[in-house]
Symmetry: C2
Subunit: 183 residues, 2 copies
DNA sequence: CTTGGCATGTAACGAGTTACATGATTTG
DNA sequence: CAAATCATGTAACTCGTTACATGCCAAG
């Protein structure tokens, strides 16, 4: 089963840049939503995608800061993205130490187990709060555009709502699991 | 930030073997729940963990099939697992091509977009059905043990319920997203 | 005056996938 | 008779992380 074309990270970068032009630095901050990668992987890949014609680059000199390289997607890049969407879906990759710990939680002291669950709950409460703020911002800024399937904001909106739901769900489950320790 | 001790996959293997002894082949089938890995990664790691004293191994000759190696966790293995649980949580790794496609979905034809969402929905319906069957099986087999925090079945139960919820949620979200294409 | 943010890159290493290799039994 | 299941392993490769490298500015 040979993988043709680009890899998942490349498509993610193209997708981000189709929404708007930005620097590698900005991408590395925003990419966390669906494909976390470190800058050491992103920068070389942007260079490669630019060399292959999927992206164009403009160097913006700055004072007091290093120059920045603003990448934009090319016509070839957009075409490549569009062709990728109907391709068969790869199974998603999830590697979650927390779930691994849950599997072994019967070995832990109840206090340790409770701490683990409460920690996770706390973590996701913060996530939900942040996400909520972002979504409200988007709603006031773009309104009806968000639910229009051909607006560039649509995909972003769907994704953010999905993440919010995931995070709220994680909290619900933690609270459900904690009940077994209090009775 | 140096990582001490074993890696996530190693702990996952120890966790599985703490529940019950099994072969690398069996592990590779069950591991999908929280840490997918191919047999080519699992077999060498089991050998390494055995050499380091976390596991013991018994070779079971078989007729008509290759001999199998049944691994069991040692006292050192259990101790190591127990110490790992209270350690600070690593952030979970999610790399999901589907979410990346959602981000770029505004570029696709509506029919392509709808197909993508329906495919995903279908895929998770199957998952839910399978998971449901497994959970019902566990419930009839182990009953109250499932909700007892010190039973070996407890972690497994929590995990399976979490996965079920995740899968049902994915369906709900797909249906929600599909609505924007029908009006 | 130190921590964090902005901004980009390379080198060495560890983690994970794909393909190669073998071989009997059962099921369609 | 082909495909799937059981069962284990190695080699070559790609992907991803950690650490190294640089340097200015703003805030506490």
């Amino acid at each position: 089963m040979e993988r043709i074309g680009l890899n998942g990270l490349s498509y993610s970068l193209l997708g981000m840049l189709a929404y708007k032009s930005c620097t590698g630095y900005e991408i590395s901050k925003m990419l966390e939503v669906f494909w976390q990668a470190k800058h050491s992987q992103i920068y070389p890949l942007l260079i490669k995608l630019e060399e292959e014609g999927y992206l164009s680059v403009e160097v913006v000199p700055q004072i007091g800061k290093p120059d920045k390289k603003v990448y934009s997607i090319t016509a070839l890049g957009v075409e490549t993205l569009e062709k990728w969407i109907p391709n068969p879906l790869q199974e998603s990759i999830v590697r979650d130490e927390f779930l691994a710990k849950i599997y072994s939680i019967w070995l832990a002291e109840p206090t340790t187990a409770v701490k683990l669950l409460e920690q996770r709950c706390q973590f996701f409460r913060h996530k939900v709060a942040e996400r909520d703020k972002l979504i409200t911002q988007m709603e006031t800024e773009y309104g009806d555009e968000l639910t229009n399937p051909s607006s560039p904001h649509f995909g972003r909106y769907l994704l953010f709502m999905r993440k919010l739901q995931m995070e709220q769900d994680e909290i619900d489950w933690c609270l459900w699991a904690l009940r077994f320790f209090y009775q």
